[in-house]
Symmetry: C2
Subunit: 237 residues, 2 copies
């Protein structure tokens, strides 16, 4: 019984109300930003008193934590579905990094507010509880699997095939990661794969977040092609 | 007379009040986020009526625009000072890309709110007027100068010197940029330099924004070293 409270009518009603609160919360975030979230305003929209709503979410921060958890969970599910599909169609463990990059962009474009809630400007005054990062670690584990399964080569190699060279020289940052790899847990990936996983995160976030915030609008080039070029650079293709 | 209104006592008083409004606005942004900015709350803090304050800023959006302009202006000044210093100490036009990367990180760490106001989650309902992007273009021009002056090679080459190869093969994205280079204006930089300039922006933003938002906290590695490795990858070193 991992979710005992949805087994009773009272429990199901509670779950329904919480879902409705979250729908209103996303609307508020789209209209006025996460930092302007107001439980009282949501109560008013739902025809409830403030104190009645506080029985479902004890504070604004509890509501934000739930939205962040949902967002991480949704991305983790998207990545794991991709990894399963790749494992079914190809030999070798782990998803294809290019497929994960493509899945990440689709997920972000599908709901930019959700993307920004977890990867955008922090909400002032909000502190995520420790366990919020557990799902973030699951996401990183899928990326690490894919990086460990990727062909050898330096992370961040240039996109042109003519320049691709297999190498055994660890970069200075690889050496640094070798000494600071606790964040990867017991994952056996070599430090070059850890480096690649970080670049998958930072480089794709760099393009995606600027695209979603409208910085490329009017510049004329196709952000999808820049994104693909960066994904290929991370893969060393 | 480009700023005639600071030549009279009335004009100087007006400039002082506007500066004080902006100081309060930055405090509000730090406490509750840019989307929660309230001219009425600022008026109250300053002991003025709302209508009196509206004579200094006609709307929340006008105030946000002024803050964004200040932020871009500050970064442009930082970059240009760096470019001037480099031009004085070295042959060749343009700043050193590594120096610009270092200056960008210092500027961002110095005031993360300012960084996030221009590069973070967009403020819902706010639309920047056309001319806001003029200073952004000045910033890009300094980066383009530095990229055009950088040694030849593919942008995004790996950090290990052993892998560095000069190349004349344009990547598919370089070819795309060649056909979509209006954003660079009349700048004579080749498309590989345009590509490098975009990577300077997206890759450094990727690391910086995740660092400033606290995503690397507790991971153990040094974000400054990841940042330096990415700056070197952009430079092709």
């Amino acid at each position: 019984m991992s979710k005992p409270d949805t087994q009773t009518p009272r429990g199901r009603y509670r779950a329904q109300v919480r879902e409705e609160v979250k729908r209103h919360a996303w609307e508020q975030i789209a209209a006025a930003g996460a930092s302007a979230l107001s439980l009282n305003a949501i109560a008013k929209q739902m025809g409830m008193s403030g104190p009645a709503l506080y029985r479902y979410f004890a504070s604004r921060d509890e509501l934000i934590t739930e939205l962040i958890r949902d967002a991480y969970r949704s991305l983790a599910d998207t990545f794991r579905a991709r990894a399963r599909a790749d494992a079914g169609s190809k030999a070798g463990a782990g998803a294809d990094l290019g497929d994960l990059a493509h899945a990440l962009r689709g997920w972000a474009l599908d709901d930019p507010q959700r993307y920004f809630l977890i990867y955008g400007t922090p909400v002032p005054g909000y502190r995520a509880p420790e366990d919020t990062t557990r799902t973030a670690s699951e996401i990183m584990a899928v990326i690490l699997d894919a990086c460990a399964a990727a062909p050898a080569g330096s992370p961040g190699s240039p996109a042109s095939p003519a320049e691709k060279l297999p190498t055994t020289h660890p970069s200075p940052f690889d050496a640094h990661l070798d000494a600071h790899r606790a964040w990867a847990g017991p994952h056996p990936a070599p430090s070059s794969a850890l480096h690649r996983a970080l670049l998958f995160w930072t480089r794709l976030h760099g393009v995606l977040s600027l695209e979603l915030a409208g910085h490329f609008a009017g510049m004329g080039f196709d952000p999808a092609q820049l994104y693909t070029a960066e994904a290929e650079a991370v893969m060393g293709r």
